[in-house]
Amino acid sequence: MADIYLDNNATTACDLAVVDAMLPYFTEQFGNPSSIHRYADGVAKGIAKARRQIQALLGAQHDSEIIFTACGTESDNTAILSALKCYPNRKEIITTTVEHPAVLNLCKQLEKEDYTVHYLKVDGKGRLDMEEYRSLLTPNVAIVSVMWANNETGTLFPVVEMAELANAAGVQFHTDAVQAVGKVAMDLKATKIDMLSLSGHKLHAPKGIGVLYLKRGSRFRPLLRGGHQERGRRAGTENAASIVGLGVACEQAMQHMTYENTHVKALRDRLEAGILAAVPHAFVTGDPDNRLPNTANIAFEYVEGEAILMLLNKQGIAASSGSACTSGSLEPSHVMRAMDIPYTAAHGTIRFSLSRYNTTEEIDRVIAAVPPLIAQLRKLSPYWGENGPVADPEKAFAPVYA
């Protein structure tokens, strides 16, 4: 039986059309696009075409607003550090408690360098308090960096509205849209978003290619300095094959946007409903009314995520977990903690993230596989008795220390 891949928020398979488009750029079209001989022509044209394809998906006004980077992390870092350089007298940053480590860890570092970072809190469904946001928008803020969609829960943030508010306050606005691009329709030219990060491998392009969208007219300072590539905004010879692949992937994403939001969403809903109907003490995290169509983050109480993943993996099902043990840390996912998900559930969250390649048959196989393996682990758990969870697990299992 074929394996089932439900970890598309971690990475996606390359679309075959993407691979086909890339292949000539490893062999026939190998020139350096900055050169002036004929070997460069085709490559430069390939990159230019990709830029237009990405522009189209993002709804950017100009293709020159697309800057190629190595990954979403580089784009995020560039955006934030650029703003700090552009506005050296502004020492504050606004972000959220549930950002990707590409933003959070940079912010933690910046705090050591005497910047003040305001972390917007989320409620139990992962939603922001817009009043808190408004109150923090002052002339001391250099940049707001807020993700468009959360990678764990899929919860969407109102970034278009937030960018309007930032713009009115004279503050640059960046969004990490790595999970949202290709799943959420975008028309950046109609927004006040100054910068946006995307990553190729989240939308069926290869790993190692990213984009920083930079609205024309927004102040900018490059992170990498060197050659004149990308109009001097990101030095380094272009990753031509991957850029061409990303262009095709963006074109494909446009074609499949409706499918993602109807068919894939229906599969996701079928998965959630099927699992929740069969597994007691399980619930979906995040904002059920406002989230990515492909993401289901389900918390299974009284069992641990990595153990669930191992049993799923044995059955050929790939998913991921916010469990601490998956990462080797002691704390469960910062997203679950930010939403105040109780420990009884936070350690047992499993993220199923779908793609357009998943089928109903696959989803039904997962629905059938999950309940027995949760029951198997609960049978081992000291927090699960004969007829369900023990009362007050924190007290029921309280080691007595001298």
Partner: protein
């Protein structure tokens, strides 16, 4: 995904002795749901013989936590409680064919549950020495609390000192920033500022050299060989605690060929360990000694032979 041994996977997929033991007269609880892993170990001990006749576990945790619990119950069944108390977390890890460094705390949890259960059987109170804090050095599985305590106790000031005292940071260097953060925090507690360029503490005055060292060249060949063996023997317990070992293969002039085995074989710190052995031998014998892994003996031999002509 973690690189679990086949034995870990086998014990996770087919755990032995899962569930509470009927008529248990010893129960040990460690961990908590907030920590992400918890283990209740129940034992049926024969009060006449002190032999553990049955053992069962209930575990909330990851694959290696469940596998460690399963392994623990298998290891201790049939042992007396005194014998069982000698079981270390290393024994549990070895039984499983090893655990990733980040997962060694699962074996520690097993050992603690065993101690707690036996304390419960004996009507004693169990003293917890559970590791706390984040794992800082993944190469050598050193957690934040151990680093903090070692800095405080020994008045450490530099990264190199922390590495010398705890091994943390002696491997891939990925944790150096983390160690320096701990240093900065602990030093700040006593009103000091962490300085990455600070000179290390003054080394303690060396012990007076033994007589043999003060009189180089006075040892007969036999005495010299015995002396080398004695020094190596004195080093071995330290290496064994870390799952490794060393043995002398050959002594050729001032070159001592050794075999590093167990965890020392292929360890990222092997060259430092060899240097340490070399230093100890030089200090003890009072002469220049070169310690070389035995693997290099073949390459070295022809050159030596040529020199002899």
């Amino acid at each position: 995904m973690w690189d679990y041994s086949e034995t870990v996977k086998e014990h996770f997929y087919n755990p032995r002795n899962a569930g509470a033991v009927a008529e248990a007269n010893a129960v040990g609880d460690v961990g908590s749901i907030s920590c992400g892993d918890a283990l209740r170990l129940s034992l049926k001990v024969n009060p006449d013989t002190d032999i553990i006749e049955d053992a069962g576990f209930q575990t909330f945790g990851c694959g290696s936590a469940i596998a460690s619990s399963s392994a623990l119950t298998e290891i201790i069944k049939g042992k007396t409680v005194d014998e069982a108390l000698k079981v270390t977390n290393q024994d549990i890890a070895e039984y499983l064919g090893g655990l990733p460094p980040e997962k060694m705390h699962c074996s520690v949890m097993g050992r603690e549950a065993l101690q707690a259960a036996i304390a419960n059987y004996r009507g004693e109170e169990w003293k917890d020495d559970h590791e706390e804090g984040a794992l800082i050095c993944k190469c050598f599985a050193v957690d934040e609390k151990l680093i903090e305590d070692t800095i405080r106790t020994n008045n450490l000031r530099t990264l190199q000192e922390v590495t010398n005292y705890t091994k943390a940071g002696g491997g891939c260097a990925a944790c150096h920033e983390g160690i320096e953060e701990v240093l900065a925090r602990v030093l700040a507690e006593r009103g000091e500022t962490y300085d990455p360029d600070a000179a290390p503490m003054l080394a303690p005055e060396p012990e007076p050299l033994p007589l043999a060292a003060q009189a180089p060249g006075k040892l007969t060949n036999f005495q010299r060989m015995r002396r080398i063996e004695q020094v190596i023997e004195s080093i071995r317990p330290t290496l064994r605690r870390d799952g490794g070992d060393v043995e002398v293969v050959e002594v050729d002039g001032n070159t001592v060929y050794v075999n590093m085995t167990g965890a020392c074989s292929g360890c990222q710190m092997a060259s430092m360990t060899v240097s340490g052995i070399q230093q100890r031998l030089m200090e003890d014998l009072g002469e220049f000694i070169r310690v070389v892994p035995a693997g290099q003996m073949a390459q070295a031999a022809p050159a030596h032979a040529a020199g002899g002509h």
